[in-house]
Point group: C2
Chain length 721, copies 2
């Protein structure tokens, strides 16, 4: 049995630290449980009372008359570990630890480790510590310190929040918007119950139709992504992720002991897992409403009806920005509209948005207009917008109700209808009970509708991310590994360029070979044998940014030029590394410069990056990211989604580039970083792209471990945040 069933449907709960003071957390926890209508057994535990709020109270967990399912712990942090052990010994399946003072503060870190160790030893599951707890309206159950949560209405939402305060905020906002909640949980420090656990549980709960996530940042988001990927095909998941900064990180860490991580990586990874990203609490609520009420649309073409053109204009503008299209009405629809609207709305436009103008005075005209859109095959979504006007509002609302009752609302349909001074609140509730989401503002409705379409798109989209591919078989793993081992044995964490290129070659990545040259004389003869202009560059594990110190000379021809270049860069290099050497490679012909890399993110692990090279990547940060491993589809998407993609597509008369060799390199370094976990970073910059091939001209590889000297700085020219 899914252990979370014990948490959400316990037969009995012990409140360890129950208090008779209803203003203390221990009192509020007990009140929350008692007032929620919970039908299981409640055991208050407090050594100083025989009864609290009229309920028999026990001096310790050990003295309870029988085994119980869940312990709700609200004792001071120092006493928590003993409470957890007591619960485990008494046969409890899990505990919710409300108490704080653990990994979110320095002095509590050790304490939390000890609690986790106890949990591992006893097999008990812990929600929290430092959490608000959880509710289940179906049980009903309120395992929090907020008695008011008994007011939460039962319904289709499952909510997972990292923060208790934000969990409250969202529950209240859902309540105010007349959206019911099934289960909600605030996870706090996540000792051994994670987002992924809750997600799987919510995924299999038939009462939950829409899952909402509030997240600040977690140490390892991959299990969450894996769970999301499984269930977003049949159940929508919507996430609000906080964007970090130095100050926000500090606050987040002190909140639940975790940094916010890279916002852009979360956005990309969530999107790839089929999660809908939202950027405000309002958008989270608005999206929850439409996903819980509307069917999944067939397409993104929206038909709009309004007597107030300005509302239609705001709605259209945002809808188009968010990926919807204004439907081109069928000719027959326009003709029918003409005859239905012309008498009462002499200036109606008969294009989309349909401005029904004073046609709003005629209920039948509204019904007929909406009916025509429901029947038009060019229309996937229907929106009706109307700012309150008491004399006409009745017509609008009755028209909508009649259509709904006749079963004629056959497509996703949204209504913008505001309610000044709450004039229409109960009427709006009625309409929403007919599965028609009502919004008070046109722009917010457009965003919600666009998210509904995004979900339709997610259900249709082929799996782009992350399946094994066949390259691995072709890699001589032992040979590649020996290079890395050799470097590590020398106590180094940076590969020299010849080492890096050899390593990449083993994986089949096309590189320009670089050869160590021992003297300027030998440089001349070796350069001649290249048959092309030459490049000389410094080779040293201590010098990572060799261009910046003048350690690279391009396009060299002629004996004198080569000799001088050799001596010059050697002199420069010796400032930084007395053992520096000089490498020679053929000058690559001009092409389009790109940058390809892999980096190990502290939360996501290996991530692959692609972007245009040169100054572009640094100034415009025009790069795309994907978590490794990549499959071919994801690799192609990465290339196509940079803004500068047009430059690869035959820009200004140039030949378009074949993307396959580029995608191939992306997949190969993906395999390398997932196979060799000691790799911290691969940076190939520049990579030169030709119509049908690709050449890695320079590359750097860093291994995990403390790096020294110059290499301590960032070698990567872009940041993820």
């Amino acid at each position: 049995m899914d252990f979370l069933n014990y948490f959400f449907n316990p037969k009995s709960v012990a409140v360890i630290g129950a208090s008779s003071d209803s203003y203390k957390a221990g009192g509020m926890c007990l009140m929350s449980l008692l007032q929620s209508g919970y039908k299981g057994t409640v055991y208050p535990v407090n050594p100083h009372h025989d009864e609290i709020f009229g309920i028999k109270t026990y001096p310790s967990v050990n003295q309870l008359p029988e085994a119980f399912d869940i312990g709700l712990i609200v004792v001071p942090s120092q006493a928590v570990k003993q409470a957890v052990l007591d619960c485990a010994r008494a046969g409890a399946k899990g505990v919710v630890i409300i108490s704080s003072g653990f990994k979110e503060i320095e002095t509590g870190r050790e304490l939390e480790k000890e609690i986790l160790q106890s949990a591992i030893e006893t097999g008990i599951k812990i929600i929290g510590p430092n959490t608000m707890g959880l509710i289940n309206t179906a049980c009903p159950l309120n395992l929090t310190f907020v008695p008011f949560l008994k007011e939460v209405q039962r319904g289709p939402i499952g909510l997972i929040s990292q923060s208790g305060g934000v969990c409250l905020l969202i529950l209240y906002a859902l309540l105010n918007e007349n959206i019911g909640t099934s289960k909600a949980v605030a996870l706090g420090n996540r000792c051994n119950v994670e987002f992924s656990d809750i997600l799987a549980h919510f995924g299999s709960d038939p009462e939950i139709k829409v899952i909402l996530i509030y997240l600040e940042g977690i140490e390892n988001p991959r299990p969450l992504l894996e769970e999301a990927k499984k269930l977003t095909k049949f159940k929508p998941v919507v996430a609000y992720k906080v964007r970090g900064s130095e100050a926000v990180n500090r606050a987040a860490f002190s909140h639940t002991g975790t940094l916010t991580g890279s916002f852009n990586l979360y956005q990309t990874a969530f999107r790839d897992a089929g999660i809908i990203n939202v950027t405000s609490i309002d958008e989270l609520i608005d999206t929850a409403k439409i996903l819980s009420l509307s069917p999944v649309p067939r397409g993104n073409r929206v038909g709009i009806v309004t007597p107030q053109a300005g509302l239609g204009i705001i709605f259209s503008s945002i809808a188009e920005q968010e990926g919807l299209k204004l439907a081109e009405l069928a000719h027959s629809t326009i003709e029918a509209l003409d005859s239905c609207l012309s008498s009462m709305a002499s200036f109606a436009l008969h294009s989309n948005p349909i401005d029904i103008n004073f046609g709003v005075a005629d209920k039948q005209a509204i019904i007929q207009t909406l009916r025509l859109l429901m029947q038009d095959n060019n229309v996937d979504l229907v929106a009706l917008l109307f700012a309150y006007h008491p004399e006409y509002t009745t017509n609008i609302l009755e028209a909508v109700e009649e259509l709904a009752e006749a079963g004629e609302i056959t497509k996703p349909f949204v209504l913008m209808q505001d309610s000044p001074a709450n004039a229409l609140d109960s009427r709006i509730k009625d309409i929403e009970s007919k599965n028609i989401p009502v919004y008070s503002l046109p722009d917010r409705m457009a965003r919600a509708l666009a998210n509904l379409y995004r979900y339709a798109d997610i259900r249709q989209k082929k799996e782009t991310a992350i399946s094994g591919h066949s390259f691995k078989a072709a890699l001589d793993e032992a040979k590649a590994k020996s290079i890395l081992t050799g470097v590590e044995q020398e106590g180094r964490f940076v590969l020299t360029e010849p080492e890096a290129k050899e390593f990449l070659s083993i994986a089949g990545v096309p590189v320009t070979p670089v050869k160590i040259i021992e003297s300027s004389e030998k440089a001349c003869s070796a350069a001649v044998s290249l048959g092309t202009p030459a490049v000389l560059k410094l080779v040293s594990p201590l010098i990572v940014h060799k261009s910046d110190i003048g350690g690279v000379k391009l396009n060299l021809t002629g004996e004198k030029e080569i000799k001088e270049a050799y001596e010059d860069i050697l002199l420069k290099g010796r400032h930084f590394d007395p053992q520096v050497r000089v490498g020679l490679q053929p000058m690559a012909p001009p092409g389009i410069e790109v940058i390809i890399g892999a980096i190990t993110d502290s939360q996501f692990g290996p991530v692959i990056m692609f972007g245009l090279g040169g100054t572009t990547v640094e100034v415009y940060q025009d790069v795309s990211f994907r978590l490794a491993p990549l499959n071919a589809l994801a690799a192609r998407e990465m290339i196509q989604e940079i803004k500068g993609f047009s430059l690869l597509q035959g820009y200004r008369g140039r030949v378009a580039v074949n993307l396959e060799p580029v995608a191939d390199i992306l997949m190969k370094i993906s395999t390398l970083v997932t196979t060799f976990t000691q790799i911290k970073e691969i940076d190939m910059n520049p990579v030169i792209v030709y119509p049908n091939e690709v050449l890695v001209v320079d590359s750097r590889i860093l291994l995990n471990g403390k790096t020294q000297g110059e290499t301590q700085g960032d070698v990567f020219p872009v940041s993820f945040s």
Copy 2:
């Protein structure tokens, strides 16, 4: 006397087209006026009734017993012109035309022109046609067809809306957020009363503290900008501008007869005029609230207090994104917080955001914490966030009220406090009556607070835009004009490159001279005399994109190379223009390529553009715009605000560029396009920037008028939208 005083405070109003049917516009107009509490005289005009709603009714305007101030016209469009003339003849100062069917539809365009002509002849002022009308809560007066607007509360807002429906929507949203309105007007087709008129009127109305604008697009926004510039130093103006698209444009045009224009230009021009741009209706309302209640802050450093860290994190994240900073608390504040919070909140962090945790149980601790922030000189703004919790909310609200009553709220202070199921509505109203804005969501509060700071910034900012500068005196206007006249006399609208460069030279713009060469032999001798490598390029008024057809050859040396290049491009050019010629210019040394241009926007007139050159400008559209004329400060800002500015600042060890010669060119072309209004477009691309000078290497100038052949396409590589 300001003519708008007649509209907003009329002594008498005639309702032309008054109806006894309260579901018709004519009935609703009369009801609106009667129910609003209007104390002036009302004259219904309708030939079929002796009285309506118990009021004596007149068969025609001509038969009214006395002159009246304002006519409210609700007759069919065909009868409107006569009604306007009747009103003018009867001595009315203005009319509000509710009727639609004018320039927003094809068949009404002529009708609107005729009405405008009547207005010009009689001197009468017209609000509308195709409008909802206006209200003035101070009068009180409701000159609309929405009787419910009597519910609007009196207060500090002045609202100018292009659309009637959106005007309603905003008025209701203000009502729901407990924000009072002084005057509101929907302008519709703007026959002869414009945004700028209303803005000036609202600017001088002492009851109006904050001006809100909803705008789709207007034919000439400059008068609005001029008015805004005058008053934003002492009264905030907030604007929501719809972002256009093809479909939105179509809808907007059919709405009030105007296209939406370039969204980016509106944003830039509004910002320069000191208008606060918002991007949603919610943000408009939230910003209106804070601007009408809060004092102007001294800076952007915000101190945050919350018992629910997650709320503080969301707030901090958005606040930082929007330009606020988290205050670094003074050491003495932290010490004082330590002693005040330590007893009840053992895990409080004592950094900003201040997590007061269960300290919320102690009202005095909350008061003391807020007091410390009010006294800390490192803090400019104070925010308190709290999600509803009945047991603690009372402490929070009482603490705030006590501080307010003691006059201790000495800095802008905002409170996030939600009200599930309206539990706190009246309490929140009380707090807002103490000039403390209350918000229900942390992210929305952060955006509003950031806009408050933006207004502080606007008040402090030096005038950047648009004052005459001294360059004009140095321009030989007659000589420059003669070039343009010569081109026009030949029936051309495109200057050849030699003409364009000569024209620019007269204004003192540094250009590489281009010389027409009659044969390949002469090209060789002329090239030698340059003393540098040469450039050969086609010269033809018919060939604007000469690079694209291979009509430019760079870096030529040696007789053979020059001859071949000459013959080659001549051959290519003759395909397009049998009269094509070849020009020679010296090859400019490499530097940083930028693009400088001027374009005539259909709504804003002359606009100056600056961006990085090469492919960058096309792929990344990294350009800045300003309305001409520019002053030196605005020219410098334009250069500094592109993303790629770092490339001009000594990127990767290069020498930083002196910006003055670049700014100088921007000002010079600004003067050229404002002096010579026949110029449609100037495009200088590339312009090469060196550490201390600038060289225009290629340039195109287009004049107004129909262009022919290839030149019909866009010559500008960026779009404004």
